[in-house]
């Protein structure tokens, strides 16, 4: 499900974090992404409702999230789109073939404001949605505050049905 890109509007980090909490997420696994570092990772770092686990590479986060899932804990994987691309084999195995509820929040670094990812001048951004589609991963485009309402239901659905979900952060959260 993709909302059209908006040239106007704003995306705040606080409601995103609130939605993640509403979905029962207790652990955030992340490699810092300059796109989401200020608006999401910095407040999460000091939020007592989350345990932040910093990993060295993004694919580690998928293994950790799977282990947490077996132990009945919910995790959010907060990474940049380049880290998503790096983690492709872990996502293929753990999220897609093993059908684990991997919940990804993926920063689309340097995406042009008002331009949909598939229309970006950046090759790396244009290929993200097609890759998710061919892998059968549910995806949501979060580009403004009005898009945030999909986050909590998407994460809860992922855990209830044991399937992966990707939330693409188009605009830099403030």
């Amino acid at each position: 499900m993709v909302a059209p890109a908006q040239a106007t509007g704003v995306l705040h980090g606080a409601p995103i974090i609130k939605a993640v909490k509403e979905a029962g997420v207790s652990h955030v696994l992340s490699v810092p992404d300059i796109h989401t570092a200020g608006g999401l990772l910095t407040p999460i770092r000091s939020d007592p409702d989350f345990q932040l686990i910093r990993t060295c590479k993004e694919d580690e986060a998928f293994g950790i999230a799977a282990g947490l899932t077996y132990g009945n804990k919910r995790a959010l994987i907060l990474i940049q789109y380049t880290g998503f691309l790096y983690s492709m084999n872990a996502i293929r195995a753990i999220a897609c073939e093993h059908k684990q509820p991997m919940c990804m929040m993926i920063g689309l670094l340097s995406k042009e404001v008002g331009v949909a990812p598939q229309d970006s001048k950046k090759f790396g951004l244009r290929i993200i949605e097609p890759i998710l589609d061919v892998m059968g991963v549910e995806r949501h485009y979060i580009d403004a505050d009005e898009d945030v309402a999909v986050i909590a239901p998407a994460i809860m659905r992922a855990y209830e049905n044991s399937h992966p979900v990707a939330m693409l952060i188009g605009r830099k959260p403030v």
């Binding site: 060295c56 986060a61 998928f62 950790i64 282990g67 077996y70 132990g71 804990k73 753990i94």
Partner: protein, 186 residues
Amino acid sequence: MMNRTKCLQTLAPHLKDEIVVATYSTASEWVEMSDRALNYYSFGAMGLASSHGIGLALARPERRVIVLDGDGSLLMNLGTLVTIGAVAPKNLVHMVWCNGSYEANGGHPLPNREVDFCAMARAGGIANVRRIESHADFEAQLPAILTEEGPLFVQMMIEQGPLGPRKYDDMYKAERRQRLREALNA
């Protein structure tokens, strides 16, 4: 050099409610010898066994989590040693079975068979590090491995094992995963 089968046979009778995360060649032997409900098999994304172990250790701090990793696997995810050092789960034991080869991939040698994983683990922030080269030493250290506060890193020096086919699909079948979930949430 030790024999992996003999070491696993030594380990198995000592286990009670520990979660064992096994991967590739070691998993192939472990599932035949000790097919427990609390076994967790890590396949498909080579190198991530210890990452799965971190997640399990954090989610279930009341249980000891023993990861049976391989040296080829660990080389694909060396950052895990830094992550384990930082997260420092007290209930995590990371055992790395070192035969200097990608045994599950045809037995070809690692780029460097002399890698000092203990030094890497220490550098990553794991203080409790052991290197075991004989069965007698393994038997002597096993009680501590099963009780000391973690994270523990154990480098097991073994000879290469058989290169026969592995039943990965069987190990990761849905019934085993459901059995694990039920055992973890009993």
